[in-house]
Symmetry: C2
Subunit: 270 residues, 2 copies
DNA sequence: CGATTTTTAAAGGTCAGACCATAACAGACC
DNA sequence: GGTCTGTTATGGTCTGACCTTTAAAAATCG
């Protein structure tokens, strides 16, 4: 007898009606994939708070048995939800599928990919940034906490150090914008910002940015940071608008345009 | 002899190095899932334009054979990319995986889900809308084409008809905002808008909107539409700001707040 | 000949069962 | 107490079979 054979009551995984143990009925609707039905139930359970972040789902084998489905169907459901950012899957003993702490990284990735494929132009990219970054800066000035501010300060210092040391500063540039978005305490805006910043970095990945521009960037960050620190909302707004406008202007110079070669893409990953 | 046994040269699916036919090397990095490696190659091929939208990938069985992997690994790769919005999968003869025409619907879904889980509050939601919808209206006024305008006009008429007929007008409300975003010709903003609008509809799904408010909404749409039609950018901007501000105000009335019951969620789907 | 029905085959979807790889844990051994 | 070493639960992969769906091809009918 396995130690966990007690009926641990998982009402959320029940079908709404017709308990005969077959799937056929719901399959008719929904374009018919068992794994999708399973995924949908889990999604609902999570979004209704029945499955809290961090909690562990049944193992593939066990859920399959309970649902009267094959392991593969369950597996596919879990996998989809992982791609969608809802679950994390860990291997090994004590592994399994866990409801993910809310984290927009997977969405940011998908969104970036989609925008890239959608042939999002530099025009759209900077246009969008021009519209959303200044308001974000304003919100950041309004809402940044002490620790937010410390983190940003550190970031800028490291950014400056990287430039002095001749290292690639793009990473820090990106992080600054992300950190600022974090301060604004507005999830939708944060996610969009992150995706845009990602793409921006990628778009510039094969451009050689002159040293003068690099230090100009970090100085810009510093004054924006200063405005945020002092909670000067309007100044933060104006400076950020200026900053993005500056970038936009530089992008228009012909020498700056991205080479249309079939170059290596920026591989994200850790 | 099967008719398609010719070596159809698919260089993109080759490993970069070491052609011995095993996966072990790349598996070491990358946290190790063959399906992820396959997915990554396809993703790269698509984003480099080697696989054009609409083109059909090899069948699961065939790709598995060529890659010396199991069908399941390929299948999982395809499935992940489908969730990510990169592929569509069709069943039946002449079915298979196709590179999707760029379409942000899957991302919109994921994003909405994520925002919902992130306990995005009404405050964040309307705040974000207040920031991005007016600029979108302005862009729409600048860039709407003739057919865009016709579509919007139709929509408004149907919206009004639905209200007169006592039908649920929410659908049309949503569609109006989507259509407007479409006019702005800015993909990142469009995607965000769509997600926000989706969430908004959902958040209001169990609120009973009084008739007076309903017609007010459609009238608002009409004047915004008018401004867009006449390419009056600033008026479109102002009106939209007013519109969202109006919504925001109504949301603050206590009777309007969503019941915190464990009610049924808005099921999207077709 | 053209429209309709039937057949067929190619593809994804599901299943079952085996085995591999990984990672935490429990003891055994120093 | 710390390190090694098996044990074991769990996801990852593979095989090969069968089901279901769907479009095209063939057969049938008017």
């Amino acid at each position: 007898m396995t130690p966990r054979s007690r009926q641990s009551n998982l009402p959320w995984l029940e079908r709404k009606s017709s308990g005969n143990g077959q799937w056929s009925h719901e399959l008719a609707e929904s374009g018919g994939r068992i794994s999708d039905l399973i995924a949908e139930r889990i999604r609902t359970a999570v979004s209704d708070g029945i499955l809290a972040p961090g909690s562990r789902l049944l193992s593939e084998r066990e859920l399959a048995q309970r649902l009267n489905a094959s392991r593969e169907s369950v597996r596919e459901a879990y996998r989809s939800l992982e791609v969608a950012g809802l679950l994390v899957i860990r291997r090994g003993k004590e592994g399994g599928a866990f409801v993910r702490e809310v984290d927009h990284e997977p969405i940011t990735r998908s969104l970036s990919m989609l925008l890239r494929l959608g042939k999002t132009t530099h025009r759209e990219l900077t246009e969008a940034r021009l519209l959303i970054e200044p308001p974000i800066a304003r919100l950041a000035a309004r809402r940044a906490t002490q620790s937010d501010i410390e983190a940003m300060g550190d970031l800028i210092d490291r950014h400056a150090a990287a430039i002095r040391g001749g290292d690639d500063p793009r990473k820090y540039d990106l992080q600054f914008h992300r950190a600022m978005a974090e301060c604004a305490k507005n999830l939708p805006l944060t996610i969009l910002m992150n995706s845009l910043a990602d793409l921006m970095v990628e778009a510039l990945s094969d451009v050689d940015i002159p040293l003068e521009t690099r230090s100009r960037t970090v100085e810009f960050h510093r004054v924006v940071f200063d405005a945020i620190h002092k909670k000067d909302e309007e100044r933060a707004f104006d400076l950020m608008q200026q900053h993005i406008g500056d970038v936009q202007k530089r992008l228009k110079k012909p020498w700056f345009h991205r080479k249309r070669t079939n170059h290596a893409r920026a591989r994200s990953k850790k």
